[in-house]
Point group: C2
C-alpha cells in the first residue's frame, strides 16, 4: 500500500487514519468538501487534498492520477434521531457521495475499497435491523457497493465499527469533556445509564483499517463485513465511574433524569465476525488514562 | 381502500393503476413533479394532484389531509446501462424521493405502502445480485423501507415486477411500434434474441397492485416481497415472431447484428414467491392481439 485515498479524513477516525498512514510512509490523498472544517488534519503534512464539487469525472481523474492502491471510505453523516429536515443531508452524505465515489473509481479502474459500516445495522443482534435511519443508509449503501463488486469486479471489505473514542476527539461526547475539567461541575442529566457500550480506542480502529487494506492487496473480497470491537462492554454508568476514579474528579451526574432513547441500544451487537489478524490492544482503562493525561498536561501548561 | 396515493402515476404502469383505481371508485391522489409529462393521465378525471417541491412537511400535510389508506409507490427512473452523468438522477428518483415519501408518511401517521421492486434484483436467480445500478438502488431503497417497518411500525409489501407491456404503452419498446405499422419497414439491428423474457400485461400488473393494497388493509406485512409474473417466458425472438404472425406484418430485423448487453438477463428470475390470491390472466397471445387491434383501429380512423 503506497498510495491511499481517505474520505471523511476531516472527521475523528478519518483524521487519525490519515495521520497514521502518513506516518507509515504512505502518500495520503483525501477528498474534502469546500465546507469541511479542517482542524483535525491541520497538523498532518503532505496531504494530497482534493476538493470535490460533485463532478464525478474530475474525481475519477484525480483518483487515476494519484494511482490509488486502496480507497478508505469513512465519510458519513451520523444522526442518532433524525428529523425530516435532515433526511436530504443523510442521503447526500451516506449514499450519494459514496455512490459517486464508486462510479469515479470504476472510471479510474481502481477497485480496492474499505467501506465503513456500523454495529447499529444489527439492533437486537439481528442480521439486519437498523437502529436509526443513519444505520439503514449504511445498509443501503452497502447494497450499492455490492453492485460494483458483482458487476464491475470491485474488491471490497466493510468494517463495522462500534463506539470510538480517543484523546484527540473533538466530538461532543461526555468522555471528551472539553480540554479542562471545569465541565465536570455542570449538572448533567442522564438516562439511567444501564446501556452497555463497546468503546474502542481510535488507535485500534486505525489498525483495523490498515489490516483491511492489506487484506485487499492480497486477496479478493466480495464486500465481506468484519467487525473491529473492544473485548469488553461496559455500561455507560461503569464508564463514567471508571473515568471519575481514574481522574479523581467528581462528575455531577443525575442518573435517570432523562428517559432512554427510543430504540436505545442496551446491548451492543455480538454476533459479528472479527477482522482476521486484528485484535483490540488498548483497554478502556488505558484509553481513559490517556485522555486524562492529555487533559492534565494541557492544564499544566 | 377508499383513498389511495400513487407515485409514478404519469408513467406506464402508474397511469394504468390510477385509471383503474379511479374506475373502481377510489379517490386517487397522485404526486408529480412540475416537470412530469402528463399525457398518460390526461384522460383520467378527478385526480387529486400534488406537485412535490421537495418540502417533506408540505407532502406530509397533503397525505394527512387526503386521509390516504394505501400509498402505491411506483415512481422510479429506469436505466439499463447507466453512465456517470446519470448517477445523481438515479439516486434522486430511486432513493431520495422514496425516502422523503416515507418520512412524510411517518409525520402524517400513514403506514400502508405497496413498494415496487424488480426481478432484476435477482440476476442468475440469486437472493441478491443486481443486474444494473437501477436494480441495486431498488434493493437499497427496500432496506430504507425496512427501517420504517421496524422502527416506525410501517406496513409494507414490495411487488417485484418483470417486463410490462400493454396497448397504451408510449415507451420506446419494440412491441409498441408507434401508432402505425410504418416502423416495421425500418431495418432493426438486434442481438441474437435468445434472451428469455417474462412479459406481463399491465392489466394483470394493476390487479397485482390492487390485491397487495387489500392485503395491507387486512393484515400486517413487514416489507415482504411478492412477484407478479407471467406464467410463461418467451425468447425475444419468439415474441417478435408471434407478433409478426398475429399482425400479418413482416418486421425487418437483423438478428445477431448487435451483441448482447453486458449482464444480459438470459433467463428471468424464477425463485420468486407469487403474490397470494393473484394469477396472471392475459396470455402473451391475447396481449399482443390487443396491441395489434389498437393499432389497426387507429389506422382505420
Amino acid at each position: 500500500m503506497k498510495n491511499v485515498l481517505i474520505t471523511g479524513a476531516t472527521g475523528f477516525v478519518g483524521s487519525n487514519l490519515a495521520r497514521q498512514m502518513s506516518a507509515n510512509g504512505c502518500n495520503v490523498s483525501i477528498i474534502v468538501r469546500n465546507t469541511s472544517k479542517r482542524e483535525n488534519i491541520a497538523d498532518i503534512e503532505n496531504l494530497n487534498v482534493f476538493e470535490y464539487n460533485r463532478n464525478i469525472e474530475f474525481l475519477a481523474d484525480f483518483i487515476e492520477k494519484s494511482q490509488i492502491d486502496v480507497v478508505y471510505h469513512l465519510a458519513s453523516l451520523f444522526v442518532a434521531e433524525h428529523n425530516s429536515l435532515q433526511v436530504k443531508d443523510l442521503i447526500e452524505s451516506n449514499i450519494s457521495f459514496g455512490t459517486e465515489l464508486l462510479e469515479a473509481m470504476k472510471i479510474a479502474g481502481i477497485k480496492n475499497i474499505v467501506n465503513t459500516g456500523t454495529s447499529w445495522q444489527h439492533y437486537e443482534d439481528k442480521s439486519y435491523n437498523p437502529v436509526c435511519l443513519y444505520a439503514a443508509m449504511k445498509e443501503a449503501f452497502s447494497k450499492i457497493l455490492d453492485y460494483y463488486v458483482m458487476a464491475a469486479g470491485f474488491n471490497a471489505i466493510t468494517l463495522k465499527l462500534f463506539d470510538s473514542y480517543g484523546e484527540n476527539d473533538r466530538r461532543d461526547k461526555l468522555i471528551n469533556m472539553s480540554s479542562d475539567f471545569s465541565e465536570f461541575k455542570k449538572n448533567i442529566s442522564m438516562s439511567p445509564g444501564k446501556q452497555m457500550l463497546n468503546l474502542l480506542h481510535v488507535e485500534d480502529i486505525v489498525k483495523g483499517f490498515y489490516v483491511a487494506g492489506k487484506m485487499l492487496m492480497e486477496k479478493e473480497y466480495k464486500n465481506e463485513s468484519f467487525a473491529v470491537a473492544a473485548k469488553e462492554n461496559y455500561s455507560l454508568k461503569e464508564v463514567l465511574d471508571l473515568f471519575q476514579q481514574l481522574s479523581g474528579q467528581k462528575l455531577n451526574v443525575t442518573w435517570g433524569a432523562r428517559p432512554y432513547r427510543r430504540r436505545e441500544v442496551m446491548r451492543p451487537w455480538s454476533k459479528y465476525k472479527t477482522l482476521p489478524g486484528w485484535t483490540a490492544k488498548i483497554s478502556l482503562k488505558e484509553g481513559l488514562e490517556r485522555i486524562i493525561d492529555r487533559h492534565q498536561s494541557k492544564e499544566n501548561k
